[in-house]
C-alpha cells in the first residue's frame, strides 16, 4: 500500500502548479465561474486551447490519439492540483464522452475527422441522450433515424441537453429499428448542429439560469458516414461510455476545493469574534462530509489503480458517481448554511455587497446541483446497476 510521490512526481506537481498559476488568471476564473458567466463560451474555449497547446487536454486518452501518457499518480496529481487551483474541469462532452467512443468504435476516417477538433476545442459537442419519455429508462427512446439512401432522416426530441446553445455537434442515440428488446435497434449518430431542421429551445432551471435545452429534430438529414460502428448496435457503445462517464463523476478535486472554501468562509468572524467554524455541531457537519470525501478520494485512486492493472475498474468504481454527487450536494448545502439570509439573494447589482453575492452564488450552485443526482443515470438507476452487476441481486 503506498501513494508516495517519487521525485519525478514532485517535479511534475510543481510543473502543474506553476502552469495553473501562470495561465489560469483571475479573468478566466471569473468568467468560467460555475459555468454561467457572460463570456463563458469564449473563456472556456480559450482555456481549453491553452491546455491543448500544453498537451494536457486529454489525460485519459491513449497516447496515440493525443493523450498525455501519464501514470495514474500523475493523473491524480494533475486532478488534485486542478482542484486546489480552482480550475474547472474540461467540458466532458467531447473530451470525456464522444471522444473515447470515436477512438474506440469509430472508423479511421471518423477518427481523423473528429478527434483533432475535439482536442483543439474547435468543435463544441453536446449529448443527445435523454428524451421526454426516456429519462432513467434511456433505452425506451423514440427519436427515429430512418435510412434513406446515403442519409438518415432524424425526427424526434432530445431534452436536458447541456450547453446545446453553444454546440457545433451533437452525438445522439436514435432508433433505427424495433428490436425484440428495447436496447436493440438503437444507433449512435453524430449530427452537425447546423443541419436544417434542428431547433434548440432553452430550458430555464430552478436557479433561474440557462444551461439546459431541448433539441428538436425535424427531418434532419444525417450522412451515413456519421454513424458510429454498426447500425442498431448503438446501445453497446453508449453503455461503454456510461461506465466511463460514471468514473468521471466523483469530482473529488472539485469537492476538495469546495471544502477548503467552505472552511475559509466559516472561519470568517461573524459577530463578536465568533465564527461558525468554532461551532461544534457545524464542525461535525463539515467533518461528516470531509471523512466521506477523504475515503472517496482513495476509492477513486483504487479504481484508477485497478484500471491500470486489470484494464477495467473494479466494483469500487461503481459507487463513485453516487457518493461523489451526494458529497457535492452536501457541500452545497453547507455553503448555503454559511450564507444564511444571503442565500436568498437573486439578481444583485451593487458590487459592494460581496457577502450577499457569495450567498447568492452558493444558492445557485445548491439549486443547480440538485441535478447531479438526476443526470448521467440517476442515483436510483446507479443503485439498481450496482445491485445487479456487483451484488448479483
Amino acid at each position: 500500500m503506498d501513494t508516495n510521490f517519487s521525485k519525478d512526481d514532485i517535479a511534475f506537481r510543481d510543473e502543474v502548479r506553476k502552469f495553473f498559476d501562470d495561465e489560469f488568471d483571475s479573468t478566466l476564473a471569473k468568467n468560467l465561474g460555475d459555468g454561467h458567466g457572460d463570456n463563458y463560451k469564449e473563456s472556456i474555449i480559450a482555456w481549453q486551447k491553452k491546455l491543448y497547446k500544453k498537451g494536457w487536454i486529454a489525460p485519459n486518452w491513449p497516447k496515440e490519439f493525443g493523450g498525455t501518457g501519464w501514470t495514474d499518480t500523475q493523473k491524480f496529481i494533475y486532478e488534485s492540483e486542478r482542484g486546489l487551483a480552482g480550475v474547472p474541469d474540461v467540458l466532458p462532452f467531447g473530451l470525456k464522452m464522444v471522444g473515447p467512443v470515436i477512438y474506440t468504435f469509430g472508423t479511421q476516417e471518423q477518427k481523423d475527422r473528429f478527434l483533432p477538433k475535439i482536442l483543439s476545442s474547435d468543435h463544441w459537442w453536446c449529448q443527445g441522450y435523454s428524451e421526454p419519455g426516456a429519462g432513467s429508462d434511456l433505452a425506451s427512446l423514440t427519436t427515429s433515424a430512418d435510412y434513406a439512401g446515403a442519409n438518415y432522416l432524424v425526427n424526434g426530441r432530445k431534452i436536458w441537453t447541456s450547453l446545446a446553445q453553444y454546440a457545433d455537434w451533437i452525438f445522439c442515440l436514435v432508433r433505427t429499428s424495433k428490436g425484440a428488446r428495447k436496447q436493440e435497434g438503437i444507433s449512435f449518430l453524430l449530427i452537425d448542429m447546423s443541419s436544417p431542421g434542428i431547433t434548440v429551445k432553452p430550458i430555464i432551471t430552478i436557479d433561474g439560469r440557462h444551461s439546459l435545452n431541448e433539441v428538436l429534430f425535424e427531418n434532419v438529414s444525417v450522412p451515413v458516414e456519421n454513424l458510429i460502428g454498426e447500425q442498431d448496435k448503438g446501445w453497446t457503445y453508449a453503455k461503454a461510455l456510461l461506465a466511463h462517464e460514471r468514473t468521471n463523476m466523483a469530482e473529488v478535486a472539485d469537492s476538495k476545493r469546495m471544502l477548503t472554501e467552505l472552511k475559509d468562509k466559516a472561519s470568517k468572524s461573524i459577530g463578536g469574534g465568533r465564527c461558525l467554524a468554532d461551532d461544534q455541531v457545524f464542525q461535525k457537519q463539515v467533518s461528516d462530509v470531509e471523512l466521506d470525501l477523504m475515503a472517496l478520494e482513495y476509492t477513486e485512486l483504487r479504481a484508477l489503480a485497478s484500471i491500470a492493472e486489470k484494464g477495467m475498474p473494479g466494483p469500487e468504481s461503481s459507487l463513485l458517481k453516487i457518493k461523489g454527487t451526494e458529497i457535492s450536494q452536501q457541500l452545497h448545502e453547507l455553503h448555503l448554511k454559511v450564507a444564511a439570509h444571503h442565500g436568498g439573494a437573486v439578481a444583485l447589482t451593487e458590487e459592494r455587497y460581496d457577502e450577499i453575492q457569495v450567498g447568492s452564488d452558493a444558492r445557485n450552485r445548491y439549486l443547480y446541483g440538485r441535478a447531479a443526482t438526476i443526470y448521467g443515470g440517476s442515483n436510483e438507476v446507479q443503485r439498481n446497476v450496482i445491485a445487479k452487476a456487483v451484488l448479483g441481486l
Partner: protein, 381 residues
C-alpha cells in the same frame, strides 16, 4: 383534546383555497412575481376586502382578534398557494410587533391602515455580522432633542421595497450582545438619511439593505419603552415562528401531494415510477416527515393556547416554538430535496411549480433563525 380547526377557521381556509384556485393560479403568480412591483396591489386590496389582513390584530383597532390557530389556518393555505404577496413581512412580522406595541397612538394610526390595505411594513433586525442573533446589534440610536439619531445598516429586510414603514432594532444602550438597551423604532422610508438597496429573493419576494445615516426618529415612533426591544421581540417570536412553520406545512403538503401524483403518472421501464419499491419507501418517509411536522405545529398551537390561558410561561412556549422550527426545517429539507429528485429532470425546471415551492421552503428556513440555530436553542434548555 381537539385537533380540528374551528368552523370559522375552516371557512377562512376554504376561502383562501378557493381564491388560489380561481384567482391566483401558478400562471398568475408568475406574472405577479415578474412584475415591477413584485406583488399585486389588486390582490392585496382583495386580501383586505376578504378580511385576511385583519386576522392577528386586536378588535379595538378593527382587527379580527385572531389567535395563533387563526393565523395558522391562513398561513397553511397561503403556503399551499405559494402566495408571494408581502403577508409575512406586513402581517406576521410587522403586524405582531405593532399589535403588541405599547404605543397606543401609533397603533390607532397604523393598524387600521394595515387592515385596509393602505399600509405595509417590514422588520429590519439583521445586521452584517449578526447571523441569527437578534441581540447582535451595532446600529445605534443616540438620544437627541425630541427623538433619536439612527446610524447603522440592516440587511436582508424582507419586502422592504414595498413597505410604508420599517420597525428597526437599534441600541440605545449597552453593548453589542446585551439583551438590555435594545429599542425598536418605526422609521419611514422617506425619512432623511434612509437609503435602500433592493434585490429579488429566490422565492419571488424582495429584500433590501437599508442604511441609516443620521436618521432622525421622533420619540413618538418608539414601538415599546426605551431599552425594552428585546423582550418585545421575544414576546412575539413564538407566534411568528408558528406562523412561518404553518406556511411551510402547507407547502410540504402540496409538494408531497404533487410528487405522489406525478409518480403515478410518470412511466419508466414500462411502469409508473410510483410502483418501484425504493421510491415508495422514500415517499412513505416523506409522508411521515410531513405528518410529524404537522403534529409538531399542532403541538405548538396547543401550547400557544396554554400560554394564552396562563398554564405555561413564555419560556416554555418559546422552547416549544424552537422545537417546532427545528423539526419543520428538517422535514422541509427532506421533502424539498426528495420532491425534486423524484420528479427528476422536470423537477429541475423553472417552468414547474415544484422548484418554486422548494425555494419558498428554503427562505422560510432561514427566516428568524435556521433549523440548526433553533435546535441548539432548544437543546441547551
Amino acid at each position: 383534546m381537539n385537533f380540528d380547526f374551528t368552523e370559522e377557521q375552516t371557512m377562512i381556509m376554504d376561502g383562501i383555497s378557493r381564491y388560489v384556485r380561481e384567482e391566483y393560479d401558478f400562471d398568475v403568480r408568475r406574472i405577479i412575481k415578474d412584475s415591477n412591483d413584485g406583488y399585486s396591489k389588486e390582490v392585496w386590496r382583495r386580501f383586505s376586502e376578504l378580511g385576511w389582513l385583519s386576522i392577528p390584530f386586536d378588535e379595538v383597532y378593527g382587527g379580527f382578534g385572531g389567535n395563533p390557530d387563526d393565523l395558522a389556518s391562513v398561513m397553511i393555505e397561503l403556503g399551499k398557494g405559494a402566495i408571494i404577496e408581502p403577508y409575512v413581512a406586513s402581517i406576521v412580522l410587522f403586524g405582531a410587533l405593532i399589535n403588541e406595541s405599547s404605543n397606543e397612538s401609533l397603533k390607532k394610526e397604523i393598524i387600521p391602515k394595515i387592515i385596509n390595505g393602505d399600509y405595509k411594513g417590514s422588520f429590519a433586525y439583521i445586521e452584517e455580522q449578526s447571523r441569527f442573533e437578534i441581540t447582535d446589534i451595532k446600529t445605534s440610536a443616540t438620544k437627541c432633542n425630541g427623538g433619536y439619531t439612527l446610524r447603522g445598516q440592516k440587511l436582508a429586510v424582507i419586502d422592504a421595497d414595498k413597505s410604508d414603514g420599517f420597525i428597526v432594532s437599534a441600541r440605545t444602550d449597552s453593548s453589542q450582545f446585551s439583551t438590555d438597551g435594545i429599542s425598536l423604532f418605526l422609521v419611514e422610508p422617506e425619512a432623511q438619511g434612509v437609503s435602500l438597496s433592493n434585490y429579488k429573493t429566490m422565492d419571488g419576494h424582495s429584500a433590501s439593505v437599508i442604511t441609516f445615516e443620521d436618521t432622525f426618529v421622533s420619540d413618538e415612533n418608539l414601538i415599546c419603552a426605551v431599552g425594552n426591544g428585546y423582550s418585545h421581540i421575544k414576546s412575539v417570536m413564538p407566534q411568528i415562528l408558528l406562523a412561518l412553520c404553518s406556511e411551510a406545512l402547507g407547502i410540504m403538503e402540496t409538494l408531497n401531494k404533487l410528487t405522489v401524483e406525478y409518480s403515478k403518472t410518470r412511466t419508466q421501464f414500462g411502469s409508473p415510477i410510483g410502483s418501484f419499491q425504493a421510491l415508495q419507501h422514500r415517499m412513505v418517509d416523506n409522508f411521515m416527515a410531513y405528518e410529524q411536522a404537522k403534529s409538531m405545529v399542532y403541538r405548538g398551537l396547543c401550547e400557544a393556547n396554554n400560554y394564552s390561558s396562563g398554564s405555561i410561561d413564555l419560556d416554555e412556549f418559546t422552547r416549544v416554538a424552537h422545537a417546532v422550527k427545528a423539526l419543520v426545517a428538517k422535514s422541509s429539507k427532506q421533502i424539498g430535496d426528495e420532491s425534486i429528485q423524484i420528479h427528476g429532470g422536470i423537477g429541475m425546471t423553472d417552468e414547474l411549480n415544484i422548484g418554486h415551492l422548494v425555494k419558498r421552503l428554503m427562505m422560510i428556513n432561514v427566516e428568524f433563525g435556521d433549523g440548526d440555530f433553533h435546535q441548539k436553542c432548544f437543546g441547551q434548555n
